[in-house]
């Protein structure tokens, strides 16, 4: 699986993502700078965590309007598997590729710890390796992970299986404890927790690895 990691000024999980992708896929990902307009064809695009553009205006707002995101959005809409973690999730909601928005945590604190997630839908290309309803452990590290969408949108995405993960407990005020959502087509996933930081026992667990393996298996 050939992959690309998009790097913005202020990304700080780009290397974590690159290490995880190389270990799991056996191939070094392309590192693509935000000012580029284009990059080689890849099977998988990752938007890493961090504080791109210093979270100016709103988290992910500036990055969502960068040159490279025009290309990423185009490919995501064309069906290329695209995965945003933390700041990457915020960027994907800011582009409108994913529904909703990420707001300041309800408790106003930066939350940094391992959390339990429930796999809400294992019918997606990102979650097929998990058992439906199972509980997995993945770390979070965010200040703005409070997922918001209006009631109609929440009902729709829940009804259509677009909610991939929920938090086991309320950690940030997210509506319906939503931790990760996909687009309607199911080829784009955004989530606040960091599966790339949980890919082997030395890191505290391997629950995150399954997500990347699921994508690989779906690509055959």
């Amino acid at each position: 699986m050939k992959s690309a990691v998009i790097v913005f000024p202020g990304s700080n999980c780009d290397r974590d993502m690159a290490v995880a992708l190389e270990k799991i896929t056996g191939h070094k990902p392309l590192m693509v700078w935000h000012q580029d307009y284009d990059f080689d064809t890849v099977d998988f695009i990752a938007l890493p965590g961090g504080f791109s553009y210093g979270d100016y205006l709103r988290c992910g707002a500036m990055s969502a309007r960068s040159h490279i995101m025009k290309e990423v959005v185009k490919r995501a809409n064309d069906g290329v598997p695209t995965f945003g973690v933390c700041n990457g999730f915020q960027i994907l909601t800011e582009t409108g590729v994913l529904p909703g928005a990420l707001m300041r945590n309800a408790g106003l604190h930066f939350v940094c710890k391992d959390v339990e997630l429930t796999v809400e839908n294992n019918g997606t290309m990102f979650t097929s390796g998990y058992e439906a309803g199972s509980s997995i452990t993945v770390p979070v590290a965010h200040h703005d992970g409070n997922y918001f969408a209006d009631k109609e949108t929440l009902d729709r995405i829940e009804g259509e299986g677009q909610v991939a993960f929920k938090y086991g407990e309320n950690i940030n005020g997210a509506q319906r404890q939503i931790a990760g959502v996909t687009n309607a087509k199911g080829n784009v996933l955004g989530m606040m927790p960091h599966p790339e930081r949980m890919i082997e026992p030395a890191l505290g667990g391997s629950d995150g690895r399954v997500l990347f393996e699921s994508v690989m298996n779906s690509l055959g």
């Binding site: 205006l57 709103r58 707002a61 309007r65 909601t93 800011e94 909703g100 928005a101 707001m103 300041r104 945590n105 309800a106 408790g107 106003l108 409070n146 918001f148 969408a149 209006d150 005020g173």
Partner: protein, 79 residues
């Protein structure tokens, strides 16, 4: 021409920072604040001199970048 833009959270969207301001004011002894909502104020200096054109341009800027209409409302004043 100057554009003054206020961006506020929509009604019904929880504003934890506004809540913190409200509690701090109450703790400081300022009574009678029923609610505090925090927003943003952005000022633009525009070279456009035609009011209608300026208004249309700023409206588009708000929709495309300055506000996230999933959670925020905006209002524009031109002068």
């Amino acid at each position: 021409m100057k554009a003054r833009i206020h961006v506020t959270l929509k009604n019904g969207v929880l504003d934890p920072q506004g809540k913190a301001i409200e509690h701090a004011l109450s703790n400081m002894g300022f009574d009678g604040v029923d609610e505090a909502r925090q927003g943003k104020y952005i000022e633009l200096d525009l070279s456009e001199t035609d009011r209608a054109k300026a208004e249309a341009a700023v409206e588009e800027m708000c929709r495309k970048l300055i506000a996230n209409t999933v959670i925020e409302n905006y209002s524009i004043e031109l002068e």
